[in-house]
Amino acid sequence: MIFLRWWLFFCLTILAATVSYYFGFFYELYDKDATKLSFVIISIYFMASLYVGKLTYDQRSNKRYETGMNASWFTSEVLLSLGMIGTVAGFILMLGDSFGSIDTANPETLKEALSSMALGMSTALYTTLVWLILSQALKIQLVNLESGAEND
């Protein structure tokens, strides 16, 4: 039963990813996230999600269930930390190179500086958005797995 719940959730995740791709979310993510950390987070999430699925499928026979659970919880924290790293990297991008070439009398340099700052800001916000969604999605799968283990 818990494996079916996991399967349903996984299929919904795939559906959400497909809809996002259809609406061009990934292209926008590629453009706006200068560090590309969002794609690292997405990759880790899918690998961890498949691993949780494997744990859910054979939890009774799996001797390394407890270790796997701890590793999966740790992975959800890693997603979160990667999001934090993306935020800090975006902050550095925003403040790093933006001000060197500013000439207050020239609107073009102001425009360039602002667009450079906007890229850093979008990097920070997009990585946060991605880890917020995916970390919660992974935790939902883990809570499902734990609830099944307690019922047994």
């Binding site: 919880w73 924290e77 979160l80 930390s81 999001g83 934090m84 935020t87 800090v88 975006g90 902050f91 925003m94 403040l95 933006s98 500013i102 207050t104 009398a105 020239n106 609107p107 102001l110 500086a113 602002l114 700052m117 906007a118 850093g120 800001m121 920070a124 916000l125 946060t128 880890w131 917020l132 970390s135 734990e146 307690e150």
Partner: protein, 82 residues
């Protein structure tokens, strides 16, 4: 859910991240406001009283002397700019 497992939900990294994002937003707004405090002033241009503006341009490397001659049709006086 055991008590040990509840500790897993006590991570504050997420809150720190969101607070950091707030900071990023405020810094962005501050910088934008700071840049707009002193808008670039336009240099005052001298009023142009001329009704006709004749411009002659030439390449920098040419050896010829380029002059501009003008003549009014009514009086016939010539003006030269060289």
């Amino acid at each position: 859910m055991t008590k040990k497992n509840n500790d897993r939900f006590k991570s504050t990294t997420g809150l720190n991240d969101l607070l950091f994002n707030l900071l990023v937003g405020f810094v962005f707004l501050f910088v934008v406001a700071f840049l707009l405090i002193n808008p670039p002033t336009k240099k005052e241009e001298a009023p142009k009283k001329a009704e006709y503006l004749i411009i002659i341009e030439w390449d920098e490397g040419i050896n010829d002397d380029v002059d501009l001659w003008g003549q009014r049709s009514t009086r016939g006086n010539s003006i030269v700019y060289s």
